[in-house]
Amino acid sequence: MIAIAAASFKEALRKKLFILVAALTLIYLILFGTINYFVIRDISREGTQNTLNTIEVASTIVSFQGLYFSSMLVAFLTIIVSIGSISSEIESGVIHSIITRPIKRSSYILGKYLGMGVLSVSYAIFLFAAIISICAIFQLPIVKTLEPLSVMKGLLFFALEPLAILALSIFGSAAFKTLSNGIFVVSIYILGLIGGVMEQIGSVLNNQSLVSWGIISSLISPFDIIYRQMLSSILSNIGVTNPFMVASEMTNTAPSTWMLIYTFAYIPGLVILAIRKFRLKDIS
């Protein structure tokens, strides 16, 4: 299992797309720093007559620009390294000499999960730390209000999101061809984003059927829930939890406990499904 994990970790690092992600990350961090710079300059120029508003703007930056796009970058990286992790080895035939060695098929799946999990979690931690550090360097007002403990809690959820996406993607890779899995995973990811917005708009408008649809899509695709839980862990004392809600009324949109428990079960659930799908799969 460790051998598989190490090999798939290294292989992911060698992908050309990984260089693309690294370049994107760099550009993104530079842009993020630049935005911070201008915001801080303009806030200090206006003076501090409206502190609440200032904090709100700054929080928006952190939550929206910073963490929202970072979580998308992490999702992007996770998806591109993992959609073909199993299917492409089946398609190329590389797998023939691997799973005929003394290794259980379940260890093969778990090894893949472990190797790519370490990679995407490391990337998530790196991005998270970079965003928070940039905010701290520019001394955004929000940084002063952050509790270290809640930041750590936020990081936990920030790293949980790629692990959930990975579980889905590995299941898809064990079940489908690489191309189909790409479409499968990306659609489900987008479904989650839309579902999250639907649920929140629904709760603002008190529209129960919107909320229900949102919840159903979140069950299939709980990534947005994890993201919102991450934000509410960090920013609970401020109340801004969704970029799309900033302009209208602010609602406390932290997911329900049941939903959280569900998301925790989602990961092992999908990994088990992947193993079951793969265990008796004919490979020819």
Partner: protein, 302 residues
């Protein structure tokens, strides 16, 4: 028995892969598994190494039912397509497979040296497999299969990409393994090689066994006689037809099949006593290729 199968059958949907294959292969044998394209040879091997799951029937390797993970520590397999991670170097690949085989570190390094030497890839181990030629890729694949010092080796067309020297080397590897009491299941289209190296074989066609036995039984004791003789009268020819009614005669060349080599000198004296001039008489064994083609074509006609 090292390999034992009982009515092993695989259907792909409702398409036949192979059907009711019952074989047993003893320790220290090189066993040929032969048949035309699409006969089901690779299907059969893939079931024995655990890539495919049988539709019905049973199979045991090294005394354990197929699918037993631990027993694979002593099994080597070279797949038909020999595709490896092209981003790895030869060395990376070997150490990856060494860890899949759970060899301990020290043992692994020595083993890696050894197999690199066997497949003649010393000096190439630092290059990426993507830069290897087809034959080199097949060699590194064989090296991986040899890593665990296997008691049982499955080779699915192991020489398909190799040059004549490489083919000879693989033959030598197989005979050496046999002398160490190891067992090899060989699937190959190069029948002249199979004939040299295999102790027994089965021939399958369209998924079913059509011939099986020790190599000499498959080849039978038949001989083919090629005779160059002149001034043959019909009396002589009729006498020769008693040996083989199907003999052919043209341009002073006779081509006939005889049951055993004792007939050879009878034939020579018939020709000479009948006034014929005998220039050349050469007996040769029926080749596996002859047997194979007759069987497979015979099967087509039926």
């Amino acid at each position: 028995m090292v390999i034992e199968t009982e009515n092993l059958t695989k259907y792909y949907g409702n398409k036949i892969g192979c059907r009711d294959i019952t074989i047993s292969v003893g320790k220290g044998e090189i066993f040929g598994f032969l048949g035309p394209n699409g006969a089901g040879k690779s299907t059969f091997i893939k079931m024995l190494v655990g890539l495919l799951f049988p539709t019905s029937g049973k199979a045991f390797v090294l005394g354990k039912p197929v699918g037993d993970v631990d027993v694979r520590k002593k099994i080597g397999y070279l797949p038909e397509n020999f595709k490896y991670q092209d981003w790895m170097t030869g060395e990376d690949l070997l150490s990856f497979h060494a860890s899949l085989y759970k060899l301990d570190k020290k043992n692994a390094a020595a083993k890696m040296e050894e197999v690199l030497d066997i497949v003649k890839l010393k000096g190439h181990e630092r290059y990426r497999i993507g830069t290897y030629s087809k034959g080199m890729q097949q060699r590194i694949g064989l090296a991986c299969a040899l890593l665990p010092d296997p008691d049982l080796l499955f080779l699915d067309e192991p020489t398909s990409a190799l040059d004549p020297v490489g083919r000879k080397e693989v033959r030598d590897i197989m005979t050496k393994l046999r002398s160490m009491g190891k067992t090899v299941l060989l699937n190959s289209h190069l029948l002249s090689e199979v004939e040299i190296v295999c102790d027994s074989a089965v021939i399958i066609n369209k998924g079913s066994v059509i011939k099986r036995g020790k190599m000499e039984d498959i080849l039978e004791s038949k001989l083919i006689l090629e005779i160059h003789a002149e001034d043959l009268n019909s009396e002589v020819l009729n006498k020769l037809r008693d040996f083989d009614p199907g003999l052919t005669y043209s341009n002073n060349m006779i081509n006939m099949e005889i049951k055993d080599k004792d007939a050879t000198h009878h034939i020579a004296s018939i020709i000479i006593n009948g006034g014929g001039k005998l220039f050349e008489l050469s007996p040769r064994r029926v080749s596996l290729e002859n047997v194979f083609i007759n069987l497979v074509e015979g099967g087509e006609q039926r």
